[in-house]
């Protein structure tokens, strides 16, 4: 098994001994990792590996049972202005238009006026003038609008859970290129996905998770990344239960 690569210098996120239990089930079984600024991380693994739980932990939505998460030296809640979170559901009101949704969420971050909202809607390839409610958008449009909501306050760190689910291949490549551009502009990006191949040209590192632990970190995408590992996840983590 390859040990998790840990950088020494510019880590902006430090995860130490992170355990997250839901009742008797441990979704995360002792995650230790550091993540550098300005890099594009793709978190991959089978269903139930703990990818979404890790992302929700970084977003401050899942509180650690044990261990800690430090983002820019602060707790996720304290660092919330630097975090943009996109979940599997859209986190948007179906009955309101894209602009109405963003106008509301902008207020939560102290952003007034439509200028910034229009700017981010255009940046994800949608039309700010579109009056249709989000409930009538296609899945691809909804994902883009959800991304627009996540980047509305210009966060330093983006946490994206399955941004390409139910999105056609062309749109997925477009979104991947858009995210690559954001990374080039200095953002740190985390993407949880089952479609990692879409990101193989833009990602800096693939973080492989299995049974609630990070089991490998590679710079190259290999479709059988987990299968290449000789042994299953460290059973010593079972003690977390």
């Amino acid at each position: 098994m390859t040990e998790a690569k840990i950088s020494q210098s510019t880590a902006i996120i430090v995860v130490e001994g992170l355990i997250k239990q839901f009742g008797r089930f441990a979704a995360l079984r002792g995650v230790d990792a550091e993540f550098d600024s300005g890099k594009f991380y793709v978190i991959v693994g089978d269903n139930g590996a703990g990818k979404t739980t890790l992302l929700r932990g970084l977003a401050g939505l899942a509180h650690p049972t044990r261990g800690s998460i430090s983002i820019l030296g602060k707790s996720p809640r304290e660092a919330c202005r630097e975090l943009g979170y996109m979940a599997h559901p859209s986190l948007l009101y179906d009955e309101m238009s894209g602009m109405e949704n963003l106008r509301y969420f902008a207020r939560l971050y102290g952003i007034f006026g439509d200028e910034r909202c229009g700017e981010v809607i255009r940046s994800v390839g949608l039309d700010p003038e579109l009056a249709r409610p989000v409930g009538q958008y296609s899945q691809g449009m909804r994902q883009r609008m959800s991304l627009a909501r996540a980047i509305l306050h210009d966060p330093q760190i983006l946490l994206l859970d399955e941004p390409f689910s139910n999105v056609d291949v062309h749109s997925a490549w477009e979104m991947a290129a858009l995210l690559g551009g954001m990374r080039d502009a200095g953002k740190t990006i985390f993407v949880v996905t089952h479609q990692a191949a879409v990101l193989k040209d833009v990602a800096d590192e693939f973080v492989w998770m299995q049974a609630g632990k990070i089991v490998n970190r590679t710079e190259e995408w290999s479709p059988g990344g987990l299968a290449a590992l000789d042994s299953p996840a460290d059973d010593s983590a079972e003690g977390a239960q």
């Binding site: 509180h63 859209s90 986190l91 009101y93 179906d94 109405e100 509301y104 207020r107 939560l108 102290g110």
Partner: protein, 225 residues
């Protein structure tokens, strides 16, 4: 304008817009209250004096049950697409969300009361013997008592499997002092049998205590998993 007030107003405006478009809560509340008025008017045939004695209980219990419909709706729309998570990851204060939700529910239930009051008066032939204007503070304070606790307990029961059942189970017992104050104050005003001052002060005290408690505890409820 402070950030907290701005977020409260933005959330309130958003909720009013969503309710205006869907009319989920107001339609259900109106139909429910209308049914109560009609069914009870057929079930009983009270004379004017008997009406004055029982109307307080009838009116407020009807509004309490109807309010539960609005209270469940107010958080249900935050669960669709997990929109509440977008609020939880933002720097917006939890209390701004709570106050906006409570104000939204207060407006809805007050609107319902304003629409239903004439029907109650006609169906039950109500005439106040005491000072009728005192019904206004009783209605406002009583409605706030119902919605402030209701908003809080609806948020608490949000992640439970049977939240529609859970809300009345939590809300009704804790609302007993408020409901009793509202019923007694209304009866006293309608019959002219004494002063409603004690009950109004009790309602005011109840509102202050429970509003403070809800504001103090809401952050914990919102951030709970």
């Amino acid at each position: 304008m402070s950030s907290r007030r701005s977020i409260t107003l933005a959330t309130l405006a958003k909720d009013i817009r969503l309710e205006w478009r869907s009319k989920d809560a107001i339609n259900s509340m109106l139909f429910f209250s209308l049914l109560v008025v009609v069914i009870f008017s057929f079930s009983f045939d009270p004379n004017a004096e008997e009406s004055r004695q029982i109307a307080g209980g009838l009116i407020w219990v009807a509004f309490l049950f109807a309010a539960v419909v609005a209270l469940n709706q107010t958080w249900a729309r935050e669960l669709r697409n997990q929109v509440l998570d977008a609020y939880r990851v933002s720097p917006a204060p939890a209390n701004a969300l709570f106050v906006a939700k409570a104000l939204g529910n207060f407006l809805l239930v007050t609107l319902l009361e304003a629409l239903m009051a004439p029907l109650f008066i006609v169906f039950y032939n109500l005439r106040a013997v005491g000072p009728a204007w005192q019904l206004i503070p009783v209605a406002l304070l009583g409605t706030w008592a119902l919605v402030v606790n209701g908003t809080f307990f609806a948020a608490m029961s949000l992640r439970t499997r049977s939240r529609e059942i859970m809300l009345p189970l939590l809300l009704f017992p804790i609302s007993i002092p408020a409901v009793q104050s509202m019923v007694e104050a209304t009866r006293v005003i309608l019959t002219g049998d004494g002063s409603a001052r004690f009950w109004i002060v009790l309602l005011l005290t109840y509102d202050v205590v429970f509003t403070t408690a809800c504001l103090a505890l809401f952050e914990t409820v919102l951030q709970a998993e």
